[in-house]
Amino acid sequence: MSQKINIAPEAFEYMEKVTGAGGVEVKVNLPKEKIEKINSICDAFGNDPGELINVLHEAQHAFGYIPAEIQDIVAHNLHMPVSQVYGVVTFYTFFSMTPKGEHPVSVCTGTACYVRGAERVLEEFRKELQLEVGETTPDGRFSLNCLRCVGACGLAPVVLVGEKVYGRVSPDGVKAIIEEYKK
């Protein structure tokens, strides 16, 4: 799946010099705390290139997404070209380079949900939120994504908002779900 590349606005507010693990200096535009956070994640995995995916999981968990600046630092700490980090980030759908909304909506489009009408549910979310799949609302409240099977196929079609699972969702029920989070 293709992803939009979007550089976070806060990226331009600061300029810091970071010293990567190999003593190489890189310039990145990130607040200090974030740089320290990502450095400590890399350290926790011994700056081992083999741990790249685990580092990225932690980074995604900590920041909600993995912008280009973070990738720069990871690459330097783990002694690898940025292109390799970028290659991995874009290969796996779990990693995202754009921030998700405050309430990320994920519609399951696994087979079990598909045959029980997930497509129409997705369409309803698109209409109601006025979003395409992969986008976030301008106010940052909602984002819309698809995923393939959360393993609750007995409840198909399934929708997740954050961690909460909604089962047997019908197109008519979409509005009510969104309303829950609008307040």
């Binding site: 799946m1 290139p49 083999g50 741990e51 790249l52 995916i53 685990n54 990225l56 999981h57 390799q84 290659g87 991995v88 290969f91 796996y92 759908t93 779990f94 990693f95 489009t109 696994g110 087979t111 079990a112 949900c113 598909y114 045959v115 029980r116 995923l147 393939r148 099977c149 959360v150 393993g151 609750a152 196929c153 007995g154 409840l155 198909a156 399934v158 699972v165 089962g167």
Partner: protein, 614 residues
């Protein structure tokens, strides 16, 4: 378990968890405490019972009562009535759809009668977060037996004689695989458990890991002993947080008990297990891609040979097995190769776990002996097609598989028969489709999945599948031609032959098997511009009912393309060649005379002409 008189088993699988089974668990405990019964009655959170459709599930032992769709607010009644007064809460019992009677004892449920649980033996009976319960059910005994009574090669021999084949899809004989890995000398070897389970709509492996993690850890240690490895890795999808949590707990508990780590059970054998996370890429289930992903790289497959058993993780011999394959191992060692090989068909031994989903009454997880028929699975265990609709097909093997139809219902299922029928065993997903499903759309759905998931390394898969998907899109949009059908077939077979890995080599299967079994639906889409199921939106038509139309002309006035003709007080007609399906006419008609149909009254070419002219 014994100091309690009664056990309440609350399902803590993902399905039930999603419908608040954790609250049911809490409420039951609160209620018991309030009544001062917590010393006599134990509440356990178990793994999946398989009956996910009707979750949350609560089973009561020793009387085997099976409550379905239990809500947190039912807790009080269950404790008051069932536990204190000994009266079952009838409204919560499972109701047999045929006899419409309550079934109090789970042993009498059709869903369980034909099942034989080996890999799932402990799912739904133990608390997976408590190693003592697993041990009470013989966990780690097989490891002890192998370490003390058998040499590695004797253990491998036993697995070979059992006839166990890989459950991850390809069906490679497990004992043979271990033997190859054992024979390759190296300073380090690895045991890898493939828990990537990428087939969307399948959840066998997840349920085993959530319900009985120790069986997998034990089997990995046994494999390590056999092939001479000291390190095990489980590659698990990040989308399975509950399974990850339970595995972490299980690993820690096993280490604490000395069942993983240095000198296991006092023997000269050390083995430990760590977790690696997937990150949402279907192709990473393929073993070479999986290994690259574990090394922190893009999960692209590579050519075989070398096979992982020769050069795998970090270039060392690596044995990759599926979760379900591993879960069978301890049972085989304890009960013997002969016991296992007495179950199943000639070339496929033992049982298979299937995830039943789609248009079936009992969506859930089942384990059945090889050789059972689809009819038994769908109608007896699965409770038949949902809402009394007509069965159309069952898709097995996920995106790599194909569909089986009415005529395959009585074929005994094993690896060979499914392949012969144009599908495959795959990992065990079984999606039931009914008359409302359009087979062309289903094929398109799978191809869409493949296009998303193709890693892009080789051209036949990267480009070819995209063309297949586009062509199917053209057909479902009503723009297909006879040529397109030929193209699907030819391109499909080229992709199969020329792709690098198993993903591409099987990706055209959903198209080819629907072409074989449902050609008439393709032809209808192409020639009649008709989709019998009504699923393809572009092949729906606005049609005016002659009987209901009073000829008010309102629709004619709003139609932006002048597609409607008719005189005042006479029935109107829509010219389908001109209609752009905007729906304005239907909204305008106050007499409900216009409806959306999957077909329209066809008129001969000349008659159609007259309508346009008028």
């Amino acid at each position: 378990m014994s100091r309690y008189k009664i056990h309440l088993l609350v399902c803590g699988g993902t399905g039930c968890h999603s419908s608040e089974s954790n609250l049911v668990y809490e409420m039951l405990r609160d209620e018991l405490e309030r009544k001062g019964l917590e010393k006599d009655v134990q509440v356990i959170r178990t793994g999946c019972f398989g009956f996910c459709e009707k979750g949350p599930i609560l089973k009561i032992l020793p009387d085997n009562t099976f409550y379905t769709q239990v809500k947190p607010s039912d807790a009080k009644e269950i404790i008051d009535e069932h536990i204190i007064k000994g009266r079952r809460v009838y409204r919560l019992l499972y109701t047999d759809p045929e006899t419409e009677e309550h079934v109090p004892d789970s042993k009498q449920m059709d869903f369980y009668k034909k099942q034989l649980r080996i890999a799932l033996r402990n799912c739904g009976t133990i608390d997976p977060e408590n190693i003592d319960e697993s041990i009470a059910r013989d966990a780690y005994q097989a490891l002890g037996k192998a370490l003390t009574e058998y040499t590695p090669s004797e253990t491998i021999d036993l697995i070979k004689r059992s006839g166990l084949r890989g459950r991850g899809g390809a069906g490679f004989p497990t004992g043979l695989k271990w033997e190859i890995a054992a024979k390759n000398n190296a300073d380090r070897k690895y045991v890898v458990c493939n828990a990537d389970e990428g087939d969307p709509g399948a959840f066998m492996d997840r349920s085993i890991l959530e319900g009985d993690p120790h069986s997998v850890l034990e089997a990995m240690a046994i494999c390590g002993y056999c092939i001479g490895a000291t390190k095990g890795l489980i590659y698990i999808r990040a989308e399975y947080p509950l399974a990850i949590k339970r595995l972490k707990i299980a690993i820690a508990q096993a280490q604490e008990y000395g069942l993983l780590g240095e000198h296991i059970l006092g023997a000269d054998f050390s083995f430990d297990v760590t977790l690696r996370y997937g990150a949402g890429a279907f192709v990473c289930g393929e073993e070479t891609a999986l290994i690259h992903s574990m090394e922190g790289k893009r999960g692209e497959p590579s050519n075989k040979p070398p096979f992982p058993a020769q050069s795998g993780y970090l270039g060392k011999p690596t044995n990759v097995n599926n979760v379900e394959t591993l879960a069978n191992i301890p049972a085989i060692i304890l009960k013997g190769a002969e016991w296992f090989s007495s179950i199943g068909t000639e070339r496929s031994k033992g049982t298979k776990v299937f995830a039943l989903a789609g248009k079936i009454n009992n969506v859930g997880l089942i384990e059945v002996p090889m050789g059972i028929t689809l009819r038994e699975i769908i109608y007896e265990i699965g409770g038949g097609v949902k809402n009394g609709k007509k069965f159309k097909a069952v898709q097995t093997g996920g995106p790599s598989g194909g569909c089986l139809t009415e005529k395959h219902l009585d074929t005994p299922i094993d690896y060979e028969s499914l392949t012969a029928a144009g599908s495959m065993m795959g990992s065990g997903g079984m999606i039931v489709l009914d008359e409302d499903d359009c087979m062309v759309s289903v094929a398109k759905f799978y191809l869409g999945f493949i296009v998303d998931e193709s890693c892009g390394k080789c051209a036949p898969c990267r480009i070819g599948n995209k063309r297949l998907h586009e062509t199917l899109g053209k057909i479902t949009a009503g723009k297909g031609t006879q040529d397109d059908i030929e193209k699907l077939r030819n391109l499909g077979s080229v992709i199969k032959d020329a792709s690098l890995c198993g993903l591409g080599q099987t990706s055209p299967n959903p198209v080819l098997s629907t072409l074989d079994n449902f050609m008439e639906e393709y032809l209808e889409h192409v020639h009649d511009k008709k989709c019998r199921s009504g699923r393809c939106r572009d092949l729906l038509y606005y049609v005016i009912s002659k009987e209901d139309c009073i000829g008010c002309m309102a629709c004619k006035r709003v139609c932006p393309t002048h597609a409607i003709s008719g005189e005042k007080k006479e029935a109107h007609v829509i010219n389908q060649d001109v209609c752009i399906k905007c729906g304005a006419c239907m909204e305008k008609c106050q007499f409900d005379a216009i409806s959306l149909m999957n077909d329209y009254p066809r008129v001969s070419a000349t008659a159609a002409q007259t309508i346009t002219e008028s």
